[in-house]
Amino acid sequence: MHRIVVDAMGGDHAPDEIVQGAAEASLQLPSAEIILVGDSAVLGRLLPRMRHDGARVRVHHAPTFVDMDEKPAEALAAKPEASIVVAADLVARGEGDALVSAGNTGASVLACARRWTLLEGVRRAALAAVYPTELRRGEKNDPFSLILDVGATIEASAEDLVGFAVMGSAYAKLVSSNRRPRVALLSNGTEPGKGPPSIVAAHAALVETTELNFIGNIEGIDIPRGVADVVVTSGFTGNVVLKMLEGVSETVVRLARYAHKERLAWRLGLVALSSAIDQLKSITDWQQYGGAPLLGFTHPFIKAHGRSNARAVTNAVKVAHKALSGNLCGNIARTMAELDERWQRRPRSETSGVMPPITE
C-alpha cells in the first residue's frame, strides 16, 4: 500500500478542491492510502460531502498553514505546525511514502529540503516543470516536456546537471511511458563547446553515458518545439526560462482578447478557430498532468500548480502513486550509482564549487 500525503490546506482553492481531488483519487487508486493534512474539523466537514472511500482517506490534524504569498523561510519559522511542515514530517518519519502539495512552492520545497534526505549520489535536488510542446512523446503521446531545475537551486555544477539529467530521464521514462527520453542541456548554441564551463563539462560527461539518451545542447527556441523530452538547466536559468514562457503564453492570450474586441472580422476569425483553440487547450491542459516533481530526495514530492482544481489534484496524486509504483527514487539512485563510477574516473570539473543552499 502506498501512502500519499496531501497538504490539504495548500493552494488557491484549498481546502475544498484539494479534498475533492484526494477523495476522487481514493476511488481510483485502491492500492493507495491518502493522508490529508490540515485542520481536521474543516476536513471532517468536507469529506462527507464527497464521494470517497473512507478506508482509504485519513485525516492528520495540522492547526495552521502557509499562505500562498508568505515568505517561505519566515512562514516555516513562525508556523512549525503548518500543514506542509506536518506533511513533510510524516513522510520523513516513514508514515507516508510521497507528498503532494499545491501550496506555496518555496515553503513546500524548503519543508522537504529540511526534513528529507537526498538520494545517494545526488548532490542537489531539482524542481521540475512541464511545458506543452509541438512534438509529442512516449506511449501516451504526452505533449509535455520536462524542464529542470526551475528554482530549487540557483547555480548548478556539471555534476549537478548530470544528476538532473538522470533524474529527469527517470521521471519522464516513468510518467510519460517514454522508454528513451531525449535529454538535452539548455545552452546558447548546439555546439558542445558553447555555454558556460559547467554546461561544457556536463556535455562532455553526458556524451559518454549509455544510460541516457543524451541528444546534446539545445537552444531556448527548441523548448516549445519539443526537440527534447527533458531539458536540463540550472535553477536560475530554468526559472527565468519558465517565467518567460509563461509570460509569452499570457501575452498571446491578451493579444487574442484585444483582437476579439478590436474588429468584427478578427472576432469572426477567432470564433471560426474556437474549436481548434479548444482542442489545443485540451491537449495542453496542465491539469491533466497534475503537477511537477521535486526530484533527488528519497521520497517523491509532486508540486501541483497553485491554481489546481480537484482534477489536477487527483492527477497529481496519481503521478505520486505512479512514482512510487515505478520505484522512481530507486531507479534514480541506481543510475546515479552506475554513473558515479564513471564520473569518479573523470577529472574533477573545473566548475564544481560550493553552491548556495536550496532557495529560501
Binding site: M1, A41, G44, P48, H52, G54, A55, V57, R58, H61
Partner: protein, 377 residues
C-alpha cells in the same frame, strides 16, 4: 393423514412453482410455541452482501448467469452475518433479485456458511405476466410489505437493517422503522405509496399489513453499505439511527457500540477483511478514524474496543495468525490513527428526525431518472 399425504405430494410442486415464479414464496414464520426472537437482522443481498454490478444491461446479464462460486461477498460481510446468527436472533433476507435466482443465491449463501431464517426474492415473472411493468423497478411497494409480512410472522424486540446506497433502502428502512414506532400514520403511508407508484390494488394490502404488524420502537439501527461510495452527508437527514458505512469493519464497529457484537466478533470481521487481500491493517485503522470523524462511534468506544480486543487476542482470537504483527502493535497503530484527528468535536445527531417521505420518494425517482439518462440502470 390424507391432508398430510396430500401436502407431501404437493409441496415439491409448490417449491418448483416458487422457483420459476408461478407462486409467491411465503416465508415461514415462527413454529408454533417458539419463543419470540430477540433480535432480527434484515439483509438486502445485491450490493449489500454480494458484490453485484447492475450498472448496465451487460452487468445484469452477467449477474444472471453467474454460478454460486462466481458470486463474491463483500469482505467481512460473511463473518458479520455468521456473528449475528446466534441463539434467539433471526436472519431475514429480502432481495430485489428475481425468484428464478433463488437456487444459485441459496447455494452461494450455503457455500459461505451463512444460515438464514427467511429468504424473500422478487417475483418478477408474476409482475410481467400480470402486465405490471412498473412493479419490476418498484422498490417501496415490494420491499416494505415483504418486511411487514416477515414481522407479522416473527416480531422481534429489536431489529437491525442492512441495505445499500444503490436504491431506496435508506428510505424504505426509515419508513418501516417509523411505521412500527407509529411515527408515520396509515394516511401518511398511503400518500407515500401513491408517490412510490404502487398499484392501486396493492395499496390496501400494504396498509393492512402495516396496521397488523406488531408495533414498537424496534428498529434501533440501520446500516447502509456505500457500494457506490455515495457521499455520507446525503444520509445525515435520516438521523443517528442510520449509519452509512464504507465497509463491514465499520458496520461491526457500530454494532460493537450498540453492544450487539463482542470485541472478539469484531476481530473475526476484521480478519476476514484482511484475508480478502482488499484491505490492510492501515485501511482498517483508517476506517475507525472515519466513523469517529463522522460522529458514528465515540473515541471512547474505539479505545474500549482496543482494550477488549487486546484481551480477546490474548485469549486466542488471533491464534495461528503469524501473518499479523503482535496485537499490541496493531492496537497502538489504531490508537495513533484516532489521535491523529486532534481534538475534533463529535457531530451532534437527531435520533429519529421527522422525515417527509413523499418528498424523499420524489427525490429518489428524480435521482433514478438522472442515472438512467446517464446510461446507468
Amino acid at each position: 393423514m390424507v391432508m398430510r399425504a396430500l401436502l407431501k405430494r404437493v409441496t415439491p410442486l409448490v417449491k418448483v412453482g416458487e422457483r420459476i415464479g408461478l407462486f409467491d414464496h411465503v416465508p415461514e414464520g415462527l413454529p408454533p410455541g417458539a419463543p419470540r426472537p430477540r433480535h432480527t437482522f434484515r439483509w438486502d443481498l445485491d450490493k449489500t452482501y454480494l458484490r453485484t454490478e447492475f450498472d448496465n444491461i451487460l452487468d445484469l446479464a452477467k449477474s444472471a448467469i453467474e454460478t454460486a462460486a462466481d458470486k463474491q461477498a463483500f469482505p467481512g460481510a460473511t463473518a458479520l452475518l455468521r456473528a449475528l446468527r446466534q441463539d434467539g436472533n433471526r436472519i431475514c433476507i429480502v432481495s430485489g433479485s428475481p425468484t428464478q435466482m433463488r437456487q444459485v443465491l441459496a447455494a452461494k449463501l450455503a457455500l459461505d456458511g451463512v444460515e438464514y431464517d427467511e429468504f424473500v426474492l422478487k417475483n418478477n415473472l408474476k409482475n410481467i405476466l400480470r402486465g405490471r411493468f412498473r412493479a419490476l423497478r418498484a422498490q417501496i411497494p415490494y420491499k416494505l410489505p415483504a418486511m411487514l409480512r416477515s414481522r407479522l410472522g416473527a416480531a422481534a424486540e429489536h431489529e437491525t437493517l442492512f441495505g445499500d446506497d444503490a436504491e431506496a433502502d435508506a428510505i424504505i428502512y426509515c419508513l418501516y422503522a417509523d411505521l412500527l414506532a407509529e411515527r408515520v400514520s396509515l394516511g401518511d403511508l398511503e400518500r407515500v405509496l401513491i408517490a412510490a407508484r404502487a398499484y392501486e390494488d396493492d395499496i390496501p394490502r400494504i396498509l393492512d399489513l402495516a396496521e397488523r404488524a406488531p408495533k414498537g420502537d424496534a428498529v434501533s439501527r440501520m446500516i447502509i453499505h456505500l457500494d457506490r461510495r455515495s457521499p455520507p452527508l446525503g444520509y445525515q437527514r435520516f438521523g443517528a439511527r442510520l449509519v452509512p458505512v464504507f465497509n463491514y469493519f465499520q458496520a461491526a464497529l457500530v454494532l460493537y457500540e450498540d453492544k450487539v457484537l463482542s470485541a472478539r466478533q469484531v476481530i473475526f470481521v476484521a480478519l476476514e477483511m484482511l484475508d480478502s487481500k482488499q484491505y490492510e491493517l492501515g485501511h482498517l485503522a483508517t476506517s475507525v478514524q472515519d466513523v469517529i470523524r463522522r460522529g458514528r462511534i465515540s473515541r471512547e468506544t474505539a479505545l474500549l474496543l482496543a482494550e477488549e480486543a487486546s484481551a480477546a487476542a490474548a485469549s486466542g482470537a488471533l491464534s495461528g495468525r503469524s501473518d499479523l504483527p503482535p496485537f499490541e502493535q496493531i492496537a497502538r497503530a489504531f490508537r495513533e490513527r484516532v489521535r491523529e484527528l486532534g481534538a475534533i468535536e463529535p457531530a451532534a445527531w437527531e435520533t429519529a428526525p421527522t422525515l417527509d417521505y413523499v418528498r424523499l420518494v420524489d427525490e429518489e425517482h428524480e435521482h433514478r431518472r438522472t442515472r438512467r439518462r446517464q446510461g446507468m440502470t
